[in-house]
């Protein structure tokens, strides 16, 4: 792969009930990303937005926010899905040889829709949709399958929530910084067993933007370019009953491919900081395993070891993760933006000292049907 770099990032604060509309949120992060990169819109030659018509409550939703993303007179296109996927598309356009600098945006106001009803629409209308499953109840089926298979305890899942909400206290963008204990999580209301309120991510509104540039453009403009070393995306079966719910093969395949591109042979040892898509607490443990941070079934032991805490060998979700801010299709791009801040040494109180190589992870679909992995570095080779 030719070299490309992320040279600008912008995020809103994530919170419930934001009063800015979609276009206002998109404009805020595009302006921030341009300022961060020291660029003006004239320096951007193409635009990739991320929308979902159901979440936005309108069809061709991309056209309604395109102007705020800088589309006028430019090649503007759209991806429906997680922000890691629109970023991947933005990267490909950057590498196509046609464009120099790509702006990628994503926004979502989860609080304005009806999250459970909208998520239910992801199920097949001629088969399971009528059962009324949503993100919580379908993930509960996965959580139980995973926990049963490997003897993962609810307390081990709760430790993820405790860690990430604590980390969020260091992140001014986070929605839910909390001082909580394992006992607090265990005592929080049962939603769909074994998932309890504090095992879930919040309903957050927000937006995020990245600027991705060719090597030439990055060298010309960026003080601290963050290089894309590896990126991969992999898809599992659509139906839950056809997947191994105890282990994500799609994640393992995506991670292997991204590691290979980046020359990573020992991910736990070589990666300095990871931002993963922990929509529910159990997911972070499952993703540890698929990412090869530990062996199969050892996610519970890894969180207990403290090695993924801020002062551990591989801090995971210093930002507080998705458990502390979940603007759905924004959340994956936030993982990339946070990794970029870490690699520039600009992550403030949540900085992992001396981080050189970072991993960002996004998911799409029911119970992580697809996984997208980015390996980023502040070193050129």
């Amino acid at each position: 792969m030719d070299r490309a770099a992320i040279i600008g990032v912008g995020q809103t604060k994530y919170e419930r009930g934001k009063t800015k509309n979609f276009a206002e949120l998109v404009y805020e992060v595009v302006r921030k990303a341009l300022d961060d990169a020291g660029m003006e819109l004239d320096d951007i030659d193409n635009v990739v937005t991320t929308t979902n018509d159901f979440w936005d409550g309108r069809t061709i939703a991309c056209m309604a926010i395109a102007e705020a993303a800088g589309s006028y007179g430019r090649d503007a296109t759209n991806v429906e899905g997680d922000g890691t996927l629109s970023s991947f598309y933005g990267l490909m356009r950057t590498l196509s040889g046609v464009y120099n600098s790509t702006i990628v945006t994503t926004h979502c106001k989860v609080s304005e829709g009806s999250p459970r009803k909208l998520f239910n629409q992801a199920f097949d209308p001629v088969y399971e949709r009528i059962l009324g499953l949503d993100a919580i109840s379908s993930s509960a089926l996965q959580a139980r399958a995973y926990m049963n298979r490997f003897g993962i305890t609810e307390e081990q899942c709760a430790m993820v929530s405790v860690k990430n909400h604590r980390n969020a206290k260091n992140n001014p963008y986070a929605h839910m910084p909390l001082d909580i204990t394992v006992e607090d999580v265990m005592k929080s209301p049962l939603l769909a067993e074994p998932i309890k309120r504090l095992d879930t991510s919040p309903i957050s509104d927000g937006a995020c933007a990245l600027i991705i540039a060719t090597e030439e453009e990055a060298r010309k403009r960026a003080k601290r370019p963050v290089w894309v070393k590896g990126v991969a995306h992999c898809t599992d079966a659509y139906r839950l009953g056809e997947r191994d719910l105890t282990y994500s093969n799609a994640l393992e395949m995506a991670a292997r491919k991204a590691y290979q591109m980046a020359g990573i042979t020992g991910p736990f040892r070589q990666i300095d900081v990871a931002e993963v898509y922990d929509a529910f607490s159990y997911m972070e443990l499952m993703w540890y395993e698929g990412l090869g941070f530990c062996g199969r079934g050892e996610g519970g032991k890894l969180i207990e070891s403290g090695k993924t805490e801020m002062d551990g060998e591989l801090p995971v979700n210093p930002s507080g993760g998705v458990l502390s801010a979940h603007s759905v299709q924004v959340a994956g791009m936030v993982r990339i933006a946070e990794a970029v801040l870490q690699l520039r040494g600009e992550a403030g109180e949540r900085q992992v000292p001396g981080a050189k190589d970072a991993l960002a992870h996004g998911i799409n679909g029911i119970c992580g049907q697809t996984h997208c992995i980015w390996i980023l570095s502040n070193e050129e080779s």
């Binding site: 009063t19 459970r116 009324g132 009953g241 056809e242």
Partner: protein, 163 residues
């Protein structure tokens, strides 16, 4: 009205919030595979479809094997009894979504003769006694409508404890 859009406006600190409802009628062709599956249920028969290359029986059936990309045509009848692979007990109510009132259970059931699990409701069960590996049997709806709830739910198979 089938297609109504209600607009209400709220104001807070000179910022307006518009509220509406989107209700859009839609039709979905079930396709040849799901149609045949539902027509089979009329005779209380559950059909799966087998991939001869992968030796996998998909229940509910589908047109294309995701593993080998072959077009599937080999119909097989599977049992109306199976084993529970995973489950959850739901404690919140969503009256417009849920066919049952909370608390109720969802599970993934692998029917005897099938290689994939069916996501469904678990009914007539003591929620405290639902366990992975328990045996379940399909309960059919009296008046069939041609959708997924023609199997109302799966109920635990009571083991005879006498005679």
């Amino acid at each position: 009205m089938d297609n109504e859009t209600i607009f209400e406006v709220e104001e807070r600190d000179s910022l307006l919030v518009h509220q509406g409802v989107i209700r859009v009628p839609y039709t979905w062709a079930a396709g040849e595979v799901a149609s045949r599956f539902y027509i089979g249920l009329r005779d209380k028969k559950i059909y799966g479809i087998r991939c001869p290359n992968c030796d996998v029986v998909f229940v509910p059936p589908k047109k294309v094997c995701h593993l080998c990309f072959d077009n599937l045509t080999e119909w097989v009848e599977v049992s109306d009894e199976g084993t529970l692979e995973t489950f959850t007990i739901v404690h919140y109510n969503e009256p417009e979504l849920h066919p049952m009132k909370a608390p109720f259970a969802y599970g993934i059931v692998k029917l005897d003769g099938a290689d994939t699990g069916m996501v469904h409701l678990i009914g007539e069960a003591d929620l405290n006694r639902i366990r992975k590996g328990m045996r379940l049997k399909a309960v059919f709806r009296e008046k069939l409508e041609g959708n997924y709830l023609d199997i109302k739910y799966f109920k635990p198979i009571q083991r005879a404890n006498h005679g």
